[in-house]
Structure formats: C-alpha cells, structure tokens
Symmetry: C2
Subunit: 432 residues, 2 copies
C-alpha cells in the first residue's frame, strides 16, 4: 500500500525520526498530559513538509475536507475516534447535523461529505445534511460518482435552535470554514454544541495566532526531546500589507521578508544546508490555496517602475491586498512519488491520528504550494502504520517509522490549534 518514496533524507531528519521513536512512550504520555489541560479540535487535517533536514506543518485545517482520500482500511479507526469524541462531548447524542461547505459541490467534496456521514453514522448518530446555501429551499438530492446519493436540506431555526424539518440535533458539525463570516443561522444557538466553534472559522482565525501557538508547542516538545525546535518549526513573522501603488507598504513587506531571509540563512549555515532558502508570503486569513507567494529572492519584490511586483499582483487581485500578510520560512518538500512532488497530510479526529495521504502535484516544484487545481492524492495506509513504529530499523528507511513521526508532528499542530482556540475564544474573555 505504501508507494515508493524518494526522500532526500540527510542528517537531521533521520536523527529526529530516531529520537521520536526512542521517545515514543514519553511522547505519548506528554500528549496525554497536554490533552488533560487542553481540548483537541473536533477534527483536524495538517499539511506537512519534509525537507529532509527539517519537517514542519505548513497548514492546519479545522474544517477538513478530503476524508474520502483516506483508505477504507482507516475507517474503523476514524469510527472509533468519533465514538470517543462523541462520548466526551455529548454521550446522549442521537442526531448530528452536518453542515457542508456552502460553495462546494464538486464530486470530490461530496465524497468527503459521504465519508463523514458514514463515519458518524457508524459511530451511532443519525446524520443529516443542512446547507448554508439559501437558494436550497427544499431537500435536494445530489448524486455521487459511485451512484450513491446525498440529500441536503435547508436549515431551520426554531426557538434559538438550528435543525432541519423534523430534526432537532444536539450537535452541529461544520465542514464550512466560514471564510465569508458567520451566517445568521449559526449565531446565538441555544443549548446546542457547535463544532468547531465559530471563532475557528477563517472569518475570525489568523494564521499568525496559529503559528505563534505552534511555536510554543514546538518549543515544549523540542525541550522534551532535547533538540532544536527549528527542526520542526518554520520561522515566521508579520509580513505587512500589500496594496497597488503603496510604496511605503511594499517597503515594509520587503523589510519583513529580508529579516526572515536573514534568520533562515543563519539556520541553514548552522546546519550546513546547501539549499537555497526561500520564504512564502500568505494572507494572515484562510485563502483556500490562493494568494500564497513563494519568494526565492528579495529582488522579486522590487519593481523599478514602482508598480506592484508580479509576485504580489496575484495576491492583491485575489482581494487579499487589504489584509495582513504573514511571512514564513519556506519548507521545501523532498518527497517524491514517481516524478511528482509529494507532501503528507495527516487526518485526526479528536486526539487520534486516523489516517493520512500524500498530496502530489506533478506540475509544481518542491518549493511551491501543492494545494490547488491539478493536485492529486495517493491514499496511504497511515492507519496500518502510524502507530506501529518498528524499533531497530535503519532511520529513514522504514515507512511505518516515517508515518509515526508524521503523526506526531500532525498532532503537535493540532495541539497548537487547541492553544490557539483557547487564546482566541471570545467567550473566555468574560471570565478575565
């Protein structure tokens, strides 16, 4: 099941893998203790990049799609994790209202919803689908590629509770990332569990908060393992704003980028890494893979005519020009499946890794964002292996050991999201 991977596995990452394996009981206990203090997000997917010399999460998704890319072998793990999650949140739960992404009706996305329905039905819930799309006025059947059907229904508010016709759920599970803000229908719900909470939506969430939390988590974890947190943490900072013609703002962006380049070069020198470093500029808000700009050289951000440099024009045009940017150390991905660049994605439900796959993109380079049209997915049997590291195998040579390490780093990013959601919880302020 595990495709042949070509990885540039030089020094540090093999050491990391070895240290992670040796420290397995300590790591699992550390997570257990962290979860005593912090509540994991309900479900999470994390994009990782393995550069050979470092391994880091680059995106933490709290409204994960792509469950359809997990192999069927992973389903029992997902169902068991869903059972554990429900038991903690609302053991008497009968009905679950699943709210799909309002904009997406691609067959791939519908298969993701189908898979989620399957998981939560088998965990013991009556699952129905309610859409945020106001144009749906009555139950509508959507046909899936396998011939199956999904019925989406219009949402109904009744006495402060959200439901469907003849369906009053105790729990509402969002799979819409709320990038366009929080719809009226989801506001001020009365005694219903809304998962994830509204402030996890991209209308409110900021990547800078997440990576700040991740930095904290990575430092704690690195201390546990006695290693440099940089090996699992991409350097980052505020990136300023971009706007056409605003030369002062562009100067500030260049300043941020230059400062980060300096830090990254210092680290590359420290570890004797011959690669040419790069950084990425992203909107501080979610953007679905648009508007991520790879900067390989500061010159790319300079334009003698004072116009917006080509590299940023796309971002400004995507309507993100007026929002904050973050600048982040680029982590090249050196994993390949056949000739395509590959990056692992780890899926979690509650605190458990339930599966994962490789996102591959034959047309992009190792330093580019692989999320976007043209990408494809290779389901990997994470489930069979992530928890089953094999002691004694040569570091870097064992897929099970690799996947265990990926599961650990994925969980670190999930833990960071838990920190982030606590720090940004608007209701927590009441008690301040």
């Amino acid at each position: 099941m595990v495709p042949h991977l070509i990885t540039a596995l030089t020094g540090p990452i093999n050491e990391l893998e070895q240290r992670v394996l040796e420290s397995m009981p300590a790591i699992e206990r550390w997570f257990r203790l962290e979860w005593m203090e912090h509540t994991p997000p309900f479900y999470t997917s994390v994009d990782l990049r393995n550069a050979g010399f470092k391994l880091a999460p680059v995106e933490t998704n709290l409204f994960p799609g792509g469950f359809n890319n997990l192999t069927p072998a992973m389903l029992p793990l997902a169902v068991q994790a869903a059972m554990a999650a429900i038991e903690k949140i609302c053991p008497e739960a009968k009905n679950l209202l699943l709210v799909p992404d309002r904009g997406s009706r691609s067959p791939f996305y519908l298969q993701n919803i189908q898979r989620l329905v399957q998981i939560f039905t088998q965990a013991g819930l009556n699952v129905r689908l309610g859409t945020l799309d106001d144009s749906v006025k009555a139950g509508a059947r959507l046909t899936l590629p396998d011939g199956g059907e999904l019925t989406i229904e219009p949402l109904q508010r009744h006495r402060g509770r959200l439901g469907l016709k003849d369906f009053d759920p105790c729990t509402i599970l969002l799979n819409d990332d709320l990038v366009a803000g929080v719809p009226q229908a989801l506001q001020s719900l009365h005694q219903q569990y809304l998962l994830p909470p509204l402030h996890a939506g991209w209308g409110a969430r900021r990547k800078s908060n997440h990576f700040r939390s991740y930095e904290e988590v990575a430092k704690k974890f690195a201390k546990l393992l006695g290693m440099d947190p940089w090996l699992i943490h991409p350097l980052h900072g505020a990136g300023g704003r971009v706007g056409a013609g605003d030369e002062a703002a562009m100067d500030a962006v260049r300043g941020h980028v230059e400062a980060l380049f300096t830090k990254v070069r210092r680290k590359y020198k420290e570890y004797g890494i011959g690669e040419k470093p790069f950084v990425v500029l992203k909107s501080d808000q979610g953007d679905g893979g648009f508007g991520i700009v790879t900067v390989r050289d500061l010159k790319e951000l300079e334009d003698p005519a004072g116009r917006l440099p080509a590299a940023l024009r796309q971002m400004a045009e995507a309507g993100r020009g007026d929002s904050e940017l973050i600048v982040q150390e680029g982590v090249p991905t050196f994993e390949r499946i056949n000739d395509a660049v590959a990056e692992p994605v780890v899926y979690m439900i509650d605190r458990y890794v339930v599966g994962g796959f490789y996102r591959i993109h034959a047309e992009r380079r190792a330093d580019e964002n692989l999320c976007g049209p043209g990408s494809s997915f290779v389901p990997l049997a994470f489930a069979e292996s992530h928890q089953l590291p094999r002691a004694g195998l040569k570091p870097g040579a064992s897929a099970p050991n690799r996947f265990y390490m990926y599961g650990v780093i994925g969980r670190l990013a999930m833990l960071a999201a838990a920190y982030e959601l606590e720090a940004t919880d608007p209701e927590a302020e009441i008690y301040d």
Copy 2:
C-alpha cells in the same frame, strides 16, 4: 482476508442481523448511555456461537489470552482503544506492570504477552513483565518463535506497592485469571490501579453471576430491538453438585438438567427448530476448558449401577466435583471453515471492539466445546469490518454485517461483565 464460511443461516438469525443493522445508531447510542453508568472491563474476549437460529456468548474472559491471533491490521485499533482506556484510568501513567499467567510458558501464550507489550508500549507506556511464579528469582529471558525475547522479572513489594527492581508502576495489568486464588503479592496494594480487579479472578468469579447479568442485559437489548431475548441468550440455571456415589446429589443434577431440557424444547418448538437440543454442564468457576460436559440425552446421566455416569466422571476427576455446577442451553455452532467447526471470538479493549478471530477445531462436533488442545485459530479481519456494516446487502450474505453483529453481541457480554463486577465488588458493600 475473510475465509469462506458455511453457515446454516435460516430464519431468525438473518432477521436479527437485519434488525441489528437497521438499529445501528440506536444500538451505539444505547451502549454509550450504558457506559455512562457502568465501567467496562479493561479488556475482554467473548466466545460466541452462531447456531443459525440463535447467536449467543458462551464464555466471557476477563484475562484474555490470544491477542497474538489478531491480525496486524487490527493493531492500530487496539492501540487507540488502549490510549482511550489509559486516558480515563490514569492519564499521567508512565509505567505499566504486566503480570502474565503464572503457569503458561507456551510459545503461543508468550506471543500473546508480546502483543500486549506492543499494544501498551505504543499507547505510550513503559511496559515490564513481573511474574507470580516464585521460582523466578532474577530477570529471565524467554525466547519467542519469531526470535524476539521477553524478560520476566520477580515481583517486589515495597511500602505496600507492587513493582519490579527500579520500576514503580502506577497501573498493574493482570493476565493471570487467578483461578488458584489471590496471591499475597497482589493483596492490599497502596494507591496502585490493579486491572482487572481481584474479584474478576476465577477464584472469586462465578459463571452463574455472569449469566444472570447477561440475561438482564439481553432483556434490555431485546426490548430496544423489539425481539425475543432468547435469540441472543442461552437459557441457564443452577446445576447442583456432583460427587462419586452421592446419588441424592446426582438426582438433583438430573432434575436441573431435565428442567432446562423442557424449557429449551419449548423454545425449539416455538421457533420450529428441527435440531435435537442439548445442554452443557459446567463448573460454576473457571476451568480453562476442562470439565465441560455436553448432555444430549438425560439417559447419559443415569447409571443403573449407581456409579458416577461416564459423562460426569471426567468433571469429578478434574477436581470440580465439590463445586457448584451450572447447566446451560447448548448452542450448536453451524459455522464452518472448510470442514472444521468454527466459533467466533471477539476481542475488546475498554468499550471498543478491536478485533476477533475464528477458533476452529477439525476434530470436534458442532455441539462440543472447541477450547482445548487441537484447536487452531483463523485470524479474521474483524477490524476492517466489524464497524462497517454495509446497508442494503442480503441478510446473512455479508461478512462485514455478520461481524458487526458479532461485535454487538460481544459487547453485550462485556456489558454483562461490567454489571457482574459491580454486583460482586466486595468494596462496594462498605457503602451499603
């Protein structure tokens, strides 16, 4: 992975399967609510028998061996369930002391221990083995068939705590069924979790208590599904005592057997079952598969010369003659793998089904106990299927649906054990 099964699947059991599938969310919710009130045993295996017309647990083991018979594909589920169990019992746990069966050093049993070590290590514990065998005075290495090694060490008591040299565990996991009573080493432990509790050992446990609890559980469950509890419950009753030459006692045994035969025949008639019914006499205590007597005809218990009938001689000779017997409706097993009689065994950790396999025995008949020398095991990929019933398939024709049903009945027996352990908890009496 699923071997070809030949099952005599006539009316009622297919109806049961269909009803179980249709009621899946209700069943899972029912279990969730039960687990809010009752604590599942730490780990459990349940032997089932599928007669075609009924499906029932015949043995509930609270110190399960045979984890080595589960397929490797089931390991992640077992690890995840172990994580969930530890998190609830003792989240800060670092060290686990595993106490193997004191008498057994067969390679099969050692592989079971090896598998348990693997599961709990990967769940994040430092696992070491301490033996109840007093003849072990220093750490001893035992070699496994795969070339691996296990080290067993002598137990040490220190200030009321049980451990090993330089090893103070917070949790002690017993895999010895304590049939010979509770050793001094395990008594009056100070602030350590002992799992399962001492009164789950066969020195204290009685099958009659278990099956009484199972009857209660089966009735509740049958009410939920609107069906006759007999379809999942073997009729049972007290069986008296046997002793050589004690004719009055033998009369009493015959009376119990006859009364049960009458009840069973009535049920067979009600359901139009053409099979010839049989009953089994067992010691009320655990006996490792010895001393189970199949009675096909009351005449087998009569002996004109007043001697102990042959059928019971074996039991008396096994030293159980002075203990109470139970008499239980025999449930024939009509599943076959090739030509061998097969019975499914379901494995659970905490509340989760983590796997299962078929115990097969080519030399025994459908109405005999399959546990004993000569039996073999076919690991079945329960893990891939037990939670994944497939709606819409013909009843009785789908292995995944069959296994989901087995997982449900296995969990009913586990729930019965939870009831039983509550009812028999000696410490609970303090609060009466």
